[in-house]
């Protein structure tokens, strides 16, 4: 066994995992509150990335400092993604609260197609290079072969976002309202919680984390097009389910486990079947823990 090879795969899996995690967090939050597989979540991530690309290239012409560009375009990406998320909820999901769950799923699929083609038509179907907004850190020079500064930023951001979300949900009023809504929306409403507001806030937060993901991941891969949200969304969904959908630490853990599965599967077997490993692993986990690694078992009350 070559230990350094193992270690490199481990780190690579971790990078992948943290990328998935940034998207999976939003997925899992929305699911936790309204039990909807938000198929269009990946598109929000894509729109965040696109907004950052647009803003940063406009600012690029002004010759602004690159850190400032990163901050401004990041903030605007978060703002616009959140706005898209909230608007999408109002249009495509809110009228369907009482409808069969499959209807909401189809509405989400429709939204996903709409947003993809909206960006395709308004911008371009081609891949565009995404500027390297994150500078190379000097202190990473000795280990740059193993860990790039973008990777480090992604890892740190994932950790910070997860901690902030956990604090938000555990300790704030809004968080309590969210938990109450996810447990029993009807009851929460009776207790005077404005569940419409809670759901909107959830979408805003979920979309904001997706936007952060969009900006960071695009700087990591250096390119984007209108379609990047689809695969990333599916993977994040798998990660969220793996960890136990609805659970925030679960989403992060699930993402890392998925990242490692893919990384080790590729490294020790073959990348031909990368996704197959991921899905088979998911299946095995679900057979033994039908609610995911950290998911609460949802026994029906009889």
């Amino acid at each position: 066994m070559d230990l350094s090879y193992f270690f490199e795969l481990f780190l690579g899996g971790m990078t992948r995992g943290s990328i998935y995690a940034l998207i999976a967090l939003g997925y899992t939050m929305v699911y936790g509150i309204i039990k909807l597989i938000n198929f269009a979540h990946g598109e929000i991530y894509m729109i965040g990335a696109f907004t950052a690309l647009i803003i940063s290239s406009v600012l690029g012409f002004t010759g602004m400092n690159s850190i400032l560009i990163l901050v401004i375009s990041g903030v605007l990406a978060i703002f616009f993604s959140a706005a898209y998320g909230a608007t999408m909820e109002k249009i495509a999901y809110k009228p369907l609260r009482q409808a069969p769950r499959l209807s909401a799923l189809i509405s989400a699929i429709g939204m996903s197609m709409f947003l993809q083609n909206y960006v395709l038509l308004a911008q371009t179907p081609d891949f565009l290079p995404f500027p390297a907004l994150i500078p190379d850190f000097k202190f990473l020079k000795p280990i740059e072969k193993i860990l790039s500064s973008t990777q480090l930023v992604i890892l740190v951001t994932t950790a910070v976002v997860m901690i902030l979300l956990t604090i938000l949900i555990k300790f704030t009023r809004t968080g309590k309202a969210m938990r109450a809504t996810s447990q029993d929306a009807k009851m929460a409403q009776l207790l005077g919680i404005n569940i419409n507001r809670v759901i909107t806030i959830t979408f805003i937060i979920g979309s904001a984390t997706a936007a952060i993901g969009g900006v960071l991941i695009s700087s990591h891969t250096g390119q984007l097009n209108y379609y990047i949200g689809f695969i990333a969304g599916i993977k994040a969904f798998v990660a969220a389910v793996l960890g136990g959908i609805g659970s925030i630490p679960g989403a992060v853990l699930g993402s890392f486990v998925l990242g490692w599965t893919e990384s080790f599967g590729t490294g020790y077997v073959s990348s031909d079947y990368e996704d197959v490993f991921a899905f088979i692993f998911l299946l095995i986990i679900l057979i033994f823990r039908p609610s995911g690694i950290l998911g609460r078992s949802q026994n029906d009350k009889v």
């Binding site: 647009i54 009228p95 409808a99 429709g110 197609m113 899905f279 088979i280 998911l282 679900l286």
Partner: protein, 412 residues
Amino acid sequence: MSNLMKYFSLKEIKKSLVMTLWFMILTFPIMVIKVNTIENTVIWRWGYLAVIAVGSFILSTLWRYMMERKSLQAGNESKISLQQKLRELGEKNPRLKRGALAAVIVLVVAYPFATSMYQTGIMTTALMYVVLGLGLNIVVGLGGLLHLGYAAFYAVGAYTYALLHVHFGIGFWVSLPIGAGLATILGILIAIPVLRLRGDYLAIVTLGFGEIVRIILENWNDFSFGPSGIANIPRPTLFGIHFKLQQASVFIYFIMVALVVFTIFIVRRLENSRMGRAWIAMREDEIASQSMGINITKTKVMTFAIGAFWAGMIGVVFAAKTTFINPASFTLWESVIILCIVVIGGMGSIFGVVVGAGILILLPEYLRAFSQYRMLLFGAILVLMMVFRPGGIVTNVRKVYRIDKDKTGEAE
């Protein structure tokens, strides 16, 4: 119509203006600024802002009007479904029913002769999706199991025929039952490990299963010829007669008509049988149905298997129709489109699936005039359809049993 006037009141106009402003902000970066980081150019398209402004003003007003209409309608529950109306009409006038039936038959038979080969091809595709929709309807609509990997069974059918032809020279008619049978077996195999999973967990695992099948077909060259696919698959023959292109397309059309009739016949019989009732009971309440003596394991495996059967069968037809298959035809989107047919049409309803397939398959074809806006409109239509008619176009009606009063009287 009179309450439409109120949307011209100051208050409503103000609401629309707020929405307009919101959408102008929302769409600003993506609509107005077009960047090209390859050429390093930025184009400002202020004109689009005006389009967005006018468009969202009108749409926002229209939206609120429609929403209000919808909530008004929600009040009166006694909405009779289209299917029920038709059925009642048919019962009242048996002659009308027979006449309509005859007209439909004439239309169906005459269609390929009246139109071009292209139109026949499109209609054949639509008919294929009718059967696929009916098959998935058993799993999703009747069994209540959210299945996102249905295209895998479709692929099994297509590859069965293609590979049987390549290796053994076996023809269409022999492959048809084999393809359906293999898909059924695969349906059973996938059902067993996922028995314990519910709802969305089932959805993601079936999605994964569909992807696994596709990836295997892509990677395992020795078996499936990989991504370059299998070409020159023969079209169906009739008693050894090979048809010319035009005739063959008409022939496949009639094969599909026959298969649609066959499917509707079987599915109708199943849905009102002991087994069909068990499927619906499982959909309605798994625990209660188990407590009423239904073997959930067996029922679930059955829905998966029978659902897969149709996909396998149509897969064989698909291979024969396109004469070329590769794994790219069996992606997740394929499964999603079939699911959309079931849900848009109206879950659990045969008539609904027929309508859904018609809309979803023919609409994009006729939306071709809008070429690049096609998928955009398609997405928007899916959302609007669900928002304004979440139960699908056709709401399902259960069989009405007539009881022979005298008989039960005797039994007492």
